[in-house]
């Protein structure tokens, strides 16, 4: 079985993975990092989003063996104690309903604000269109991203 060393949330993990096993299942079943969610398995819903070198990436499509030497951030590692501006804004707008997609939504939003600290509605819709929410929290997601941009600006612009 192939072996791979993954750098996840700043920590290196060396693990045996089945050939072609996507990063999603290495995270969930090998490392018990279950914050990254399985939903569609074909890269269309965004529930499995992680950041790879800062870019939102569908972990259900990425073979784990191709992820060596990359900086992987999962929802568990976005902040030390849930105080990332996006996480704070998500709570203050009470975005989640069932909540299952929100880890992916939050990582996508964090990456957006990294690129564009003051996105308008069109920017948000464009950046977030790959992340589905079956409960339909899109309106609150928009509001929360704007609020997060505000929090980040107040904190000194570093999202």
């Amino acid at each position: 079985m192939p072996q791979v060393t993954l750098k996840i949330n700043g920590t290196e993990h060396t693990l045996d993975v089945a050939p072609n096993m996507p990063l999603l299942w290495a995270l969930r079943d090998k490392l018990n990092l279950t914050g990254t969610k399985y939903s569609c398995g074909i890269g269309v819903c965004g529930a499995c989003t992680v950041l790879v070198d800062g870019a939102p990436t569908r972990s259900c499509l990425m073979p784990a063996t191709t992820m060596a030497d990359r900086e992987i951030t999962t929802i568990e590692g976005l902040s030390a104690d849930g105080n990332h501006p996006v996480q704070k804004a998500w709570n203050d707008e009470d975005v989640p309903q069932c909540g299952y997609c929100q880890g992916g939504q939050i990582l996508a939003a964090a990456a957006l604000l990294e690129q564009n600290p003051k996105p308008d509605d069109a920017d948000i819709d464009r950046a977030m269109s790959g992340n589905l929410c079956r409960c339909g929290t899109y309106i609150r997601i928009r509001k929360a991203i704007k609020r997060a941009a505000q929090y980040a600006a107040e904190e000194g612009g570093d999202v």
């Binding site: 569609c40 819903c45 929802i75 989640p96 069932c98 299952y100």
Partner: protein, 604 residues
């Protein structure tokens, strides 16, 4: 136990009672029970074990239990809020716990929009009862009348002297007092009395959701746990005769592969083939090599349904309701409008696919972690199917990644229980998205044929509705029934609802509203056509429809028109619009709920 504490006249059930227990830790526990269902000869009070609703710890922590499943509807936050409101404690001091499935809580289910209406009395009884007890304890310690005491933020104040006592200091004294009689409790009921209810309170699980903590069923990880996939027949109800199990067992990571004989119940243990492996990926990869010889008895095609619907549309069908004389009124109508609406089967597609984790302990106890809308019914079915007494089955409730009615069905949990017993290891069964779409209990397809007759004033004086729906053995299947008395029945003087049934073998079930998401689309689309033909404003047409009654409409028409007016006003109905833009309005009534929506639509 009755979940509702009211008799037919809406009076509080006098058989409900409170019980308090002082734990060794010094914590005070308050539960709500009910007499009356005991056949043991003992009174329920003697046999009753506390169903924890409220626990107050000596350090002042208030623990409130939420008994119902939460799939995003927010009940895990809402229920404790009601208790906290009545107990006069600050929300920041409240710790919320999720109850396991336990019959002592009464109905623990998500469905029918019944959670909060059913829980409302018990929750207020628990909170108010606990408060009454603490007030009594303070009054006793001070030797003053209770009427001179007030409570706020976990502190009792003796108004005349200004003395105060924290709840946490009163637990021992409170435990010595008789539990208050439920019938004597004064329960808050008016919005003006509320401090916490009606305020913005973020969901109690938010901190865990937002940091990716393991709170969903598919996040459960147990020592030595294996992962299972379950292949069912692509034709509903088909059975596995044989499969290339030896080959599948030889594939990487696979530990077990076996046929599950199953039963004929759709919402039970359907027959199939289980593959169990060290990881989900390996189990599911092995499935690609699985070859099964299926035995099927029927094959339905939704294309065939469309053909049947066309044929049935020309027939009269069964008349479910007829007010006035629809056909005669059509003859004297100035304008006739006809339109048909159709929608296909719809899957629930919850973000979190069906899953359940099961562990058969060495003691013989079966433990499950089930993202379920019906944990109690699921336990019953598992008991019957596996022959394990209900008392030996413990169902933990986990946060649910979307439900929408799908998780009211029982299949996934009994599958996990069976597979775990066969393998002798803790097992997490996880359906793929493909499994989820292929084996749902779909919102039924439906065909609506409408005909309206208008008077010279443009009023809808006759309405004929031929609903072609799905059934089994001549009876509508789950989610396919339309009540004859539902909106707009009772609002049109000449009204007829006819029904025809297409036989189906497709599993169906409630889907959110349950059927009204579909019915509303059909009705409201048609009413726009009628308003257009009558040359009337769509809002004004709908308000006019609500202004008359013939017989007893199920809804409160004034509330209906009020809802429409509020939505119209908020959207600026009637305002100037750009050329390629327009507003559309819709109204529906269902489950005692009134809804009006306005959409602004542009055409490119």
């Amino acid at each position: 136990m009755n979940a509702q504490r009211r008799d037919d006249r809406g009076n509080m059930d006098r058989r409900a009672f409170l019980k308090t227990t002082l734990l060794a830790s010094g914590a005070l526990l308050i539960g709500v029970g009910s007499c009356g269902n005991s056949n043991t000869g003992k009174t329920a009070r003697e046999t009753w074990k506390p169903n924890l609703y409220v626990r107050i710890d000596p350090d002042g922590t208030i623990t409130i239990v939420s008994k119902n499943p939460d799939a995003g509807q927010g009940v895990k936050t809402a229920f404790p809020m009601v208790v906290a409101e009545c107990l006069e404690v600050d929300w920041k001091d409240v710790h919320v716990e999720q109850a396991p499935a336990d019959d002592r809580y009464g109905r623990q289910a998500l469905g029918g929009s019944r959670g909060t209406p059913d829980g409302w009395d018990d929750l207020r009884i628990a909170g108010t009862g606990a408060l009454t007890l603490l007030m009594g304890a303070a009054a006793k310690e001070w030797d003053v009348p209770t009427s001179e005491c007030s409570a706020a933020s976990s502190i009792i104040t003796h108004e005349p002297s200004g003395r105060t006592k924290a709840y946490a200091s009163l637990l021992e004294t409170a435990a010595t007092l008789p539990a208050p009689e439920v019938s004597e409790l004064k329960l808050k009921s008016r919005p003006s009395e509320f401090k916490l209810l009606g305020t913005f309170v973020p969901g109690v699980d938010n901190p865990k959701i937002l940091t990716g903590q393991p709170i969903y069923g598919s996040d459960i990880r147990l020592d030595g746990m294996l992962y299972a996939v379950y292949q069912k027949c692509p034709v509903f109800g088909g059975k596995a005769r044989s499969a290339n199990l030896e080959h599948v067992r030889s594939l990487p990571g696979v530990t077990h592969a076996f046929i599950v004989p199953g039963t004929d119940e759709y919402s039970g243990l359907q027959p199939g083939v289980a593959i169990v492996a060290e990881t989900f990926w390996e189990a599911n990869s092995a499935r690609e090599a699985l070859e099964v010889d299926w035995e099927t008895t029927h094959a339905d095609s939704s294309e065939g349904y469309a053909e049947q619907a066309k044929t049935l549309a020309a027939e009269p069908g069964e008349t479910l309701r007829h007010d006035g004389d629809v056909d005669a009124t059509f003859d004297r109508s100035v304008t006739i409008v006809e339109a048909s609406y159709h929608y296909p089967f719809v899957a629930h597609a919850t973000m979190e696919p069906m899953n359940c984790t099961a562990l058969l302990h060495e003691s013989g106890k079966l433990e499950l972690w089930a993202p379920s809308q019906n944990p109690q019914t699921q336990r019953k079915l598992i008991s019957q199917t596996l022959g394990i007494p209900e008392g030996r089955i413990h169902v933990n409730q986990v946060r649910i990644g979307g439900a929408f009615g799908r998780r009211s069905r029982l299949d996934f949990a009994v599958e996990a229980a069976w597979i775990a017993r066969e393998t002798g290891r803790p097992v997490q069964l996880l359906w793929t998205r493909e499994d989820d779409m292929a084996h749902d209990f779909y919102r039924p397809a439906g065909w609506h044929h409408f005909k309206a007759g208008l008077s010279d004033e443009g009023r809808m004086i006759a309405f004929d509705h031929h609903f072609i729906t799905l059934g089994m053995g001549g009876k509508t299947v789950s989610g396919a029934r339309l009540s004859a008395n539902h909106y707009p029945a009772g609002l049109v003087p000449n009204f007829r609802l006819r029904q025809s049934i297409i036989e189906t073998h497709v599993p169906t079930g409630p889907w959110r509203s349950p059927g009204h998401s579909a019915y509303c689309f059909a009705y409201q689309s048609f009413f726009d056509e009628v308003a257009l033909a009558a040359g009337r404003d769509p809002l004004e047409f709908r308000l006019d429809l609500l202004s008359q009654s013939f017989g007893k409409p199920q809804l409160d028409s004034e509330r209906g028109s009020g809802t429409l007016r509020v939505a119209a006003e908020a959207a600026g109905w009637g305002r100037e619009m750009e050329n390629n833009r327009g507003l559309g309005i819709a109204f529906h009534f269902d489950h005692r709920g009134y809804a009006a929506h306005v959409a602004e639509v542009s055409i490119d």
